[in-house]
Symmetry: C5
Subunit: 154 residues, 5 copies
């Protein structure tokens, strides 16, 4: 049975991990979910590496909410770079689901965005794991996770 | 028979993968094409690594369209850095074909640019794979993919 | 018996390592503490790697105080990136505890912040090592180390 | 017999590779030159790695001309970082010879600069390979490649 | 007998390597010094790796003087990142001793700074190699190399 890992943070201001898990379970079965929570986004990469190598996960979602300050942006850059590196070291996908605190106009929209982006990436996660051919059909369609799709160029 | 891999995204707003495949097939035969589509540009590096190591591709084209916001530029930087890293880990070429959404003055020009850059890099891909000596003859000629060549300095 | 490593600098203007050690000892026993001090934050990554591989530490705290100038910010970025890399190379956690000199409004607040952040990360360190399930319960709660928690979105 | 590799691009607007080869041959013999041309500077790192590992080069010159736009600067940064990484993976030197398009006041000066920088780095290349002790004598002398030397501090 | 490596550049405008060697010899004996000079700071990382792996150095000082332009700052960032990476690959310390050309108000102060920073890091080098416990006693003391110490927070 396939194992999907959910790795998230106590720093985030919305329980994106729970939203992802709910969406995964609503859309598919035949997999096991393992969860690992760390303090902040810079702790995500090694947590992901451990999930692949010590827990034998097949794919991961790494969820976090970088703050709005320049130092937060830099932390996000460091975390993102290392999440990609982790994938190269393991030959497995990690869906990075980051919501920046300045992406929403208020707390309500931010919570909505965090929930929706987590859910839409959960679908991507299932597609990559179980039906990768579905993604080829959507190539170049201008899809977005969270806010509405940009759509193909006219 | 050589294998050329096409790796692209659902985030892109133009089907650059299809353009690349069309151009490859119009110019050469004697190779097999494999396609892999992922959600966004940060998913490209591991997809490329898997294409080399699990699908035995000999060369890849990685196609994407980074958005116009600062965070999109940062994602492109992270993806590009990791695509180069992937090449160093495998000793094989990946032609990065990125079109930034702010490179075109409108959607029409952007679509034209995405198509043309994908096609011109398809030719580079064939040259690197089958006729690398052709590139030596063009060294220092100020060639560009997409917009017109800058040409050699006068 | 588990080994916790404390790695800090002579550049820092507050003895964050001592604060971390005091907090660790006040909250738990059954572990050994090893300390390693280097000149600056860019010396931390290799010191951490040596602590894992030569001293067999199970987890580390890396403590430092980057200065306020642009070059100091860049050093912090380089150090942080490499601390994450060190974790990926060893599959073990390093709690990065950095306090930037411009985070406090005066020396008094800065000292308070350095002490408190070191202590709060010492608790994270113990949780990751001994009770990781405690962190899952705090996922998405908007926790902060040092200044007060942001809390969950409303 | 030692092998020197020349790796350059079709993007460059001056044939720096030819200038480097001419200078190498004018100053020394007893080595073989191998040339490899790729489309752009981000293709240089893997080309260099292949030159070391598949062509057994002892040292390389990597020549390129980054454009003047911010995205070009970012590409140069990505290429440079990976060229250094390539050296660390192989324990061999790569002389990076980049001329930025905004370094010259006009096309004529830029061509002069590209030629001269390629030639002066060709001498560095020969020194590193055949007479490294010559470089120790020039330590701290404020040498520059291309424009005139800054000289030692007074 | 321990081996200390001195790696410096012909680009630097002050012979920091000589200053470091003089200071090392004045303060301790029972070690051998090996010197390696390269053209610029981006050549330092591989030179350091070779010093560890081909010359069996136990610790290194990497000395350089980045220029004042934005491109020089970027080169320094690339070199620094790779020097840390080199340490992670070898589990050995490299003391980075960089003096930026815009750190001094004139050439005289810059020369003074280069000399003093090289000498103060030479002491750090000896402490790390022979008496690491001395550094623990100075943890959090706000020490600086070159200009005067910031001192502990009040």
């Amino acid at each position: 049975m396939k194992k999907i890992g959910i790795v998230d943070t106590t720093f985030a201001r919305y329980d994106m991990g729970a939203a992802a898990i709910d969406e995964l379970k609503s859309n598919h079965d035949g997999f096991k979910i393992i969860r690992y929570t760390v303090p902040g986004i810079k702790d995500l990469p090694v947590a992901c590496k451990k999930m692949f190598e010590e827990q034998n996960c097949d794919i991961l979602m790494a969820l976090g909410m970088p703050g709005p300050k320049p130092i937060d942006k830099q932390c996000a850059h460091e975390a993102s770079s290392a999440l990609i590196q982790t994938q190269l070291m393991t030959n497995k996908h990690i869906l990075e689901v980051f919501v920046h605190e300045d992406e929403g106009k208020d707390e309500k929209e931010l919570a909505w965005l965090a929930d929706r982006r987590a859910r839409e990436h959960a679908i991507n996660c299932l597609d990559l794991l179980f039906k990768p051919e579905k993604l080829i059909k959507k190539a170049g369609k201008g899809l977005r996770e969270g806010f509405k799709d940009a759509g193909p160029l006219k």
